[in-house]
């Protein structure tokens, strides 16, 4: 007899959804969190797209502790002095059935874990899982923890232990770990009165803004972001790891430079840093994903590199919640069937393949690499801002140069060959589906 049916390691969005799904299926579930409360270790940009919660928590939008509903979505290209902003607004996103929301992860994750408790899962905090327990045949049968007498056995372990997943690595599910598949996200939470944020960003009540930035990262491949919370602004940068160390620029210096940009500085003027935070992001999508199933083991969320970093689409929490839910359902089915072998648990990968979780990743497989490529990072922002700068600069008495000439001259100035431009455009068109 095992101590429990299913152990879920990590009470982030993946783990809590796994626990909710398995508990709702009537299984005994233990949800283990190493932080003092769920969400205490967790940080992101970011925006949550909670639609996937409809299945587990139908009335989530009435209770989830969100900050603002995103009604303005901007993509900003920065050169040293210029900014080209594509901005879309839809107040409909801020009303039922809603779209994306900003939220503090310690609030949101904690709430989601409480939903798991309400569904019948047992939540154990302040406990670090230190390894896997195996039987004589090497089959996973539980976990070891840093608590005295803290070993725990189960029919299935679901590893939702985040981007560093020592469980997935322990189980040999990652072929290799390559730094170039990861980015470092650093963020400042900047305090400003709500009325000032509303005015500066053109929103009111609980309407919010999401600005994704290409360029402005001091020559380090990556990107920037600004999100509005009720009375704070989350501002940060995401930096490709090997490039970051090669450039000899420290993360906080890159943030400081972004904050000084003439397009950014007025948005945050007078704001005070109330929290600095950092987290690593699995950025390479399908090409870095581990095997997600072994005998008695499933992997979900960031632990399985299920984070979508596809330039115009930057999502992670929804992928975590969905994969966690499907893992919890598959684990519960396997326990009911009395067979928790890898082949039985493949129903999990089947589900991921049938849904957006892997469909999106397959469709967008090439995009993370394209977005972080040197040309897109270092040449295109200057190219595009250069075009716009000249298109709207009236040089009377000279006549307008014409768009084709501007395009040609700016492309040459940016050092982009026509071949490369066509190639990247095709990769983009094909890659974005």
């Amino acid at each position: 007899m095992t101590d429990t049916d299913i152990i879920v390691v990590g009470a982030g969005p993946a783990g809590s959804c796994a626990a909710i799904a398995a508990a709702k299926a009537g299984k005994r579930v233990v949800l283990i969190e190493r932080g003092p409360f769920p969400g205490s270790k967790n940080m992101y940009g970011g925006v949550i797209y909670p639609r996937i919660l409809d299945e587990l928590i139908p009335d989530w939008f009435e209770h989830a502790p969100i900050q603002r509903w995103v009604v303005r979505r901007s993509t900003m290209l920065l050169s040293d002095t210029g900014a080209f902003n594509i901005d879309y607004r839809s107040n409909a996103w801020g009303q039922a059935p809603y779209n994306g929301a900003t939220a503090y992860r310690p609030d949101f994750d904690n709430w989601l874990a409480q939903q798991a408790v309400a569904a019948g899962a047992e939540l154990i905090c302040s406990t670090t899982v230190t390894g896997l327990l195996r039987d004589a045949q090497g089959r996973i049968k539980g976990i070891t923890t840093d608590r005295p007498d803290g070993d725990l056995t189960a029919s299935v372990v679901i590893a939702c232990d985040g981007v560093n997943s020592f469980i997935a690595k322990d189980a040999g599910l990652y072929k290799s770990v390559d730094a170039s598949n990861y980015t470092l996200g650093v963020k400042e939470t900047l305090s400003l009165p709500k009325s000032v944020i509303d005015e500066r960003f053109g929103v009111r009540d609980n309407q919010g803004v999401d600005i994704e930035i290409l360029g402005g990262t001091s020559g380090v491949n990556g990107g920037g972001f600004i999100y509005t919370n009720l009375d704070t602004i989350a501002l940060g940068v995401v930096l490709k790891l090997p490039k970051l160390s090669a450039q000899k620029k420290r993360p906080e210096e890159i943030i400081a430079e972004l904050k000084r940009h003439p397009a950014i500085a007025p948005l945050i003027e007078g704001a005070e840093v109330i929290e600095y935070s950092a987290h690593v992001i699995p950025e390479a999508g399908l090409d870095m994903m581990p095997k997600m199933v072994a005998d008695g083991l499933l992997v979900a969320g960031d632990a399985a590199a299920l984070c979508l970093a596809a330039g115009i689409w930057l999502e992670g929490v929804n992928f975590a919640m969905a994969s966690g839910m499907y893992a919890g359902q598959s684990a519960a089915q396997a326990v009911t069937a009395g067979n928790t072998s890898a082949s039985e648990l493949q129903s999990y990968t089947k589900k991921l393949n049938e849904t957006f979780v892997l469909k999106d990743h397959k469709k967008l497989r090439k995009i993370p690499h394209l977005v972080l490529s040197d040309r897109v990072q270092h040449k295109y922002p200057g190219f595009v801002t250069g075009i716009v700068e000249r298109m709207f600069r009236v040089e009377n008495p000279h006549p307008k140069p014409g768009v084709r000439r501007i395009l040609r001259e700016e492309r040459k100035k940016a050092g982009i060959s026509l071949m490369d431009l066509v190639r990247d455009a095709l990769t983009g068109l094909k890659g974005f589906g």
């Binding site: 190493r34 932080g35 003092p36 409360f37 969400g39 205490s40 270790k41 967790n42 940080m43 502790p65 503090y104 992860r105 310690p106 609030d107 904690n110 905090c125 302040s126 406990t127 670090t128 230190t130 923890t145 840093d146 608590r147 981007v163 560093n164 020592f166 770990v177 730094a179 990861y182 470092l184 650093v186 939470t189 790891l241 090997p242 970051l244 160390s245 450039q247 000899k248 620029k249 420290r250 993360p251 906080e252 400081a256 000084r260 003439p262 500085a265 007025p266 003027e269 007078g270 840093v273 109330i274 929290e275 600095y276 935070s277 950092a278 987290h279 690593v280």
Partner: protein, 111 residues
Amino acid sequence: MSLESLRAANNIERDNTWAEISFQERIDTAEFRIHERAHITVNGDSCRGCTTRECVVACPANLFVPTSDGGILFNYENCFECGTCYLVCNQAGAITWTYPEGGYGIVFHRT
């Protein structure tokens, strides 16, 4: 008001720069519950042979400090537990990385 002071007022530019906070002030905004056991250890011998020092640049908490004798001084206490250091390190075995004891380490704020 004289013409002179009007001219001066005309030249006042809006100041969009402000004093960046010190690194220590930045780190002090985060809460760290420090356990007596170091969850990350650094093998000084490997570091002495390393010329690239990726960790020194990349660690967001600036926990890796080069010493005058060519080694690395490391402090685990203000660690965000992000994993950047072991990911960028190219000296096999130089950084031994585990999570801190349950309940300890970085604690991000709730509202």
